[in-house]
């Protein structure tokens, strides 16, 4: 409980750092490039495979009840709403979150964070704010990549391997997956990105001494981020369903 309070204060400070215009454009660009460069390929590859796996798993069930052309709609919905954002976030936590925790942990252990403070610079604003903003900016991009590749991967399997008829496949999919689903997925990913960045940076800032301490900060950052992503995913799913139902009431309600 104490840890969450401390984390909240830390996060508040980092967010205020984003708002106060201390941020240097160059630092931000560097952080963004770092994230894009190191995560793009893994996100694309894992996205493709997830799409392919889903296609293989779903086909058997849908084929027996003769709903082949609806597969696209179902798979694309899960990719855009759930798998894309979660996958992008988990990959970001693994590739960038752990690296940030290790970097900041090393800076803590070698007293570089203390040195920053002594030179009149707020270490949280200087070190965390640009990373935080970069994560917020880059994760929608990664999510879009994961979505695209997931859709692509599943479609290749469905259309090329299982020979499903393309026109109705895409038709169903387009009718079923709405812009709301895509946008709610992207919005969700932004929340994931921000939270995982703040968790990993916070772990780094409180790293213990030595190689072991820094290593532990990195692992803790990843594990806590992962748990937080899953928890938030659940909470946000509840919220988005409520919003969705408010604007587009379920069929049963409309009839009544």
């Amino acid at each position: 409980m104490d840890g969450i309070g401390d984390w909240a204060l830390f996060s508040g400070r980092a967010i205020r750092g984003v708002l106060s215009r201390h941020l240097k454009g160059r630092e931000l660009l560097h952080a963004c490039f770092d994230i894009g460069y190191s995560s793009l390929v893994v996100v694309a590859v894992t996205g493709t495979f997830i799409g392919m796996v889903l296609a293989v798993q779903t086909y058997a069930q849908f084929h027996t009840i003769g709903l082949d052309t609806s597969i696209g709609a179902v798979i694309h919905m899960s990719v855009v709403r759930e798998l894309g954002p979660v996958l992008a976030a988990v990959m970001l936590a693994g590739r960038i979150g752990t690296a940030m925790a290790a970097q900041l942990g090393t800076m803590r252990v070698t007293e570089q964070i203390d040195a920053l403070a002594c030179l009149g610079v707020d270490p949280v604003k200087y070190l965390v704010s640009p990373r935080f903003l970069a994560c917020l900016l880059m994760i929608p991009l990664l999510t879009v990549i994961a979505d695209l590749m997931g859709v692509l991967g599943s479609s290749v399997i469905c259309l090329q391997v299982f020979g499903i008829e393309p026109y109705h496949y895409w038709e169903h999919s387009a009718r079923f997956v709405k812009r709301f689903d895509l946008l709610s997925g992207l919005a969700k990913s932004v929340v994931f990105g921000g939270v995982l960045c703040l968790i990993c940076c916070h772990r780094g800032f409180h790293s213990r001494a030595g190689a072991e301490g820094v290593g532990r900060a990195a692992t803790e950052g990843f594990v806590l981020s992962f748990v937080a992503i899953m928890f938030l995913d659940f909470v946000l799913a509840m919220i988005t369903t409520t919003i969705h139902d408010a604007f587009w009431p379920p069929a049963g309600a409309r009839v009544a």
Binding site: A117, L119, G120
Partner: protein
């Protein structure tokens, strides 16, 4: 007499179950150079960090110009830290920046100086610590331990601080460079009326630069109630100190410690 610039009043520090400082009093007056000595692990670095508020005392108060450090607002604390130059024991260079950018960091963060002025200032500081111009573009990882220390010193001095806190400025330097740094500490004091606290193990540095010497004793070796500051006086009096622990330390004699270390040293 003027008021002390830095004052520790009944300060205790505890990390988890380990008590490091207990009820320590220390006054540092303006323009004084105080050498802080004591054996490894007795809490010298901790004392320096208390002064700039990097650590908070578990008990007691640290006053800077009469005001408790841990009750300063964020802005006041920043302003105070900008007046203090801190040389870290491990140099604490920013390892993603070049030597030049490390030394320029404080100047740039504070603002107000154009890039040519920053350049001139950094050059001058690096020259004073005996680093050639060729070192400017190097990354900290490419430097030797002694060079790193000197870059840290240049960085700490870049803002012309009113107070300098040196954590072992000459450890790891060769004898000649050690003397250069000693001279630099003296020169800085003559030139800018700076107040300094020098943590050191070098008796030559103590003799050369210190107006006053304070010796801390490790808490674990004291019985309850004994003061932790075992010497506070001029450097000249160290070898004739009444306290045998002080004489033993400055003369560097192991004596009874050998028996403590077990049978290794006695057949």
């Amino acid at each position: 007499m003027t008021d002390p610039l830095i004052r520790l009043r009944g300060v205790s520090v505890r990390f988890g179950r380990q008590q490091v400082l207990s009820n320590v009093h220390l006054d540092v007056y303006p323009q004084e150079t105080v050498a802080l000595i004591g054996e490894s692990g007795c809490g010298k670095s901790v004392t320096l960090k208390l002064i700039v508020g990097l650590l908070k005392p578990t008990d007691g108060e640290v006053l800077f110009e009469g005001r408790p450090v841990h009750r300063l607002t964020e802005r006041e604390l920043t302003a105070m830290r900008l007046r203090v130059g801190f040389l870290f024991q491990g140099a604490a260079l920013f390892d993603s920046l070049t030597v030049f950018d490390n030394v320029a960091f404080g100047l740039r963060a504070e603002g107000g100086l154009g890039e040519p002025e920053v350049r001139a200032k950094v050059r001058q500081r690096l020259q004073e610590v005996g680093l050639p111009e060729g070192a400017e573009a190097k990354m900290p990882a490419e430097l030797s331990g002694g060079m790193r220390k000197r870059v840290g010193l240049a960085r700490a001095m870049a803002l012309d601080p009113d107070v300098m806190l040196y954590d072992e400025p000459t450890t790891g330097l060769d004898p000649i460079m050690t003397d250069v740094i000693n001279e630099l500490i003296l020169l800085t004091r003559r030139r800018t009326s700076v107040t300094s606290v020098v943590v050191t193990h070098e008796m030559r540095t103590v003799q050369k630069v210190a107006d006053r010497v304070v010796m801390l004793y490790p808490l674990s070796r004291l019985s309850a109630g004994e003061p932790q500051v075992v010497y506070d006086g001029p450097a000249a009096g160290l070898t004739e100190a009444a306290d045998p622990r002080v004489r033993q330390f400055v003369l560097g004699e192991a004596r009874d410690r050998l028996t403590e270390l077990g049978g290794v040293y006695h057949g």
